[in-house]
């Protein structure tokens, strides 16, 4: 594939690490990055190392409980540390302050092949609305997000005609789960003519990455019994710490609303209701509390019922399993976009057909 010039909206944990991982990949050039206060653009290729060094532990964000409530502007992806007015991208030599970071990237988008949207989506329609803004500017290219929630897919589908008219290939849910593990489920299904159940079970040990991933943890809390997105958003940092204390740092999730279900259904692999997602998060250890496993149970054409499995090594971090696949799906999105395939695609849509 020819060189892919990409931008990152949001330079919190996911945005930063995607920039870092892209340095290891052939054919990927980061040309723009922004956060709520700043934007950096260099069509010859950003100096990613300088940008990451300058923003290390210095990510532009409002107070944690303000995250993503500003909707229309570029919010920081995760509620993490802030260091005064020079926080975030503007602390880099390549950055400049702006009040319209997303619009500034859109203004450059003629020379951008793909955009990773690493913004928080606590408001469900925030990322769909960002996509709309790219479409309004007649962007022809790829948008990729790493969203989790099932209901967002429908909001993107509602905008599919607008995206198609613009020439946008939107790859949604392209992180670890949904994303990496959705793709694994789609592939594992290939032994079967009928899929009965998909079980996705993840383990994450987040001790050393906890500070960088508070936004993710907050979003996970919304999946716990007795919590929802609104209550999770309204919790103070102290309340979150208390909740984590009550669970000795280990939170177990069952039947999460993860878009794996609708993404597998739209690819024709199984009914959404036959997909179950859960996992265990340990914020006090880097060891995974359980092994991340995808189990796909189905029936073969010759009448046998079996379970194929995909397992990630416990040493592979959540970060590695989000950012590698995000870039992998981004590349697949570019292949599709250059071929004129526009609209909304899930990870399973980019796999062999079922």
């Amino acid at each position: 594939m020819d060189d892919v010039r990409f931008a990152v909206l949001g330079t919190g944990g996911i945005g930063r690490r995607t920039l870092e991982v892209s340095q290891h990949k052939d054919g990927l050039t980061a040309v723009a990055a922004c956060d709520r206060n700043g934007v950096a653009v260099d069509h010859g290729g950003l100096d990613v190392e300088e940008l990451l060094d300058a923003t290390e532990g210095n990510i532009a964000s409002g107070p944690a409980d303000d995250v993503a409530t500003d909707g229309g502007a570029a919010a920081a992806p995760e509620g993490v540390k802030q260091h005064g007015e020079q926080a975030g991208v503007v602390a880099s030599d390549q950055g400049r302050p702006t009040e319209t970071p997303i619009d500034d990237v859109i203004a450059e988008s003629d020379a951008i092949d793909a955009v990773l949207v690493a913004l928080p989506n606590l408001e469900h329609d925030f990322i769909p609305r960002v996509a709309e803004r790219f479409a309004e500017a007649d962007y022809e290219g790829v948008l990729v997000d790493v969203l989790k929630r099932s209901r967002v897919i429908g909001m993107l589908d509602d905008r599919e005609e607008t995206l198609k008219e613009s020439g946008i290939t939107f790859v949604c849910g392209a992180g670890a789960t949904p994303g990496f593990l959705t793709g694994a489920a789609a592939l594992a299904a290939q032994s079967f003519v009928e899929v009965e159940e998909v079980e996705i079970w993840w383990g994450v040990g987040l001790k050393s990455g906890y500070e960088d991933n508070r936004g993710t943890v907050r979003e996970d809390i919304a999946h716990l019994d007795g919590y929802d997105i609104e209550t999770a958003r309204e919790m103070s940092e102290a309340e979150i710490e208390e909740l984590i204390d009550d669970h000795d740092g280990v939170l177990e999730f069952n039947d999460m609303e993860h878009a794996d279900d609708v993404l597998l259904e739209r690819a024709g692999i199984c009914d959404a209701e036959d997909v179950h997602v859960g996992g265990v998060l340990d914020v006090r250890s880097d060891e995974k509390p359980t092994t991340t496993t995808v189990s796909v149970t189905g029936t073969t054409f010759d009448g046998e019922t079996g379970t194929n499995t995909f397992q990630l090594d416990d040493v592979t971090s959540m970060e590695a399993n989000v950012n590698g696949p995000a870039l992998g799906y981004l590349k697949a999105g570019v292949r599709n976009n250059r071929a004129g395939h526009y609209g909304v695609f899930g990870p399973a849509d980019l796999m062999p057909g079922f």
Copy 2:
């Protein structure tokens, strides 16, 4: 995806079972099938059940040790039973005798979206030459094969310009391995920025399918120490039986020449020499002698070295793991073809980019 009209060249084990599996799939209509003596075409859709019933245990083939030596004509895919002049497709109400079965399918190819080439390839360039004949007829569509040998990929690549000019998307090595397991390796690599080793280890129990898969067994024997394609082709049935007896029915293969290596290298995932393929074949039991496992070892962006694994349930038959993926990759090929992506693609090229 809109309806895909497909043809099968060769109605031995793989061709027959692909027709059977397609009955379970949405959006696939079998419109043509041929073997060395006959062809059946119905653009409204073949009566697959009638065709399979009529050809059950009745596959047109020369004597086993003649298999695939006729090159230019449609050879039967595997050296199995023959029952006189009415053997194979001509035994079906839908079949008619022909001396030019492949040309007869090519003549209909304007109305065919994809062709599964389930012909034997003991002569390495046989399938590449069949592809050339489709290109000479200006076929615009997909060709899929389930070949195994690494060296065939180069022969296809040599013809890539011809295929592109015609508008052909050739998906090569789209069975179990290479194919299903190559795709799994490509996906499992997504945790890593550097892949150090891919190990593909398969188990096949073939007791009840032995008669239908003698051609495959013969091709596997060519991978044993002390054998090659020529010696395997020249062995009589009695000699093969004797070899199998000597091994009590269980043949173990190491460092096989399987195209997984070049297919993963061409997708940029690792060097061909870091891919190892082996397995155990038991022709006297339906139980798999070992669990089919793909292990991908690599290093993450954050410096950890780990191994992701993909395992097929022991109850999933070799047949299920060849024919489901063959149709899955066929569908992916059609998506690419309709988007104007022509040339030679391996399974890993149809996965998220690395």
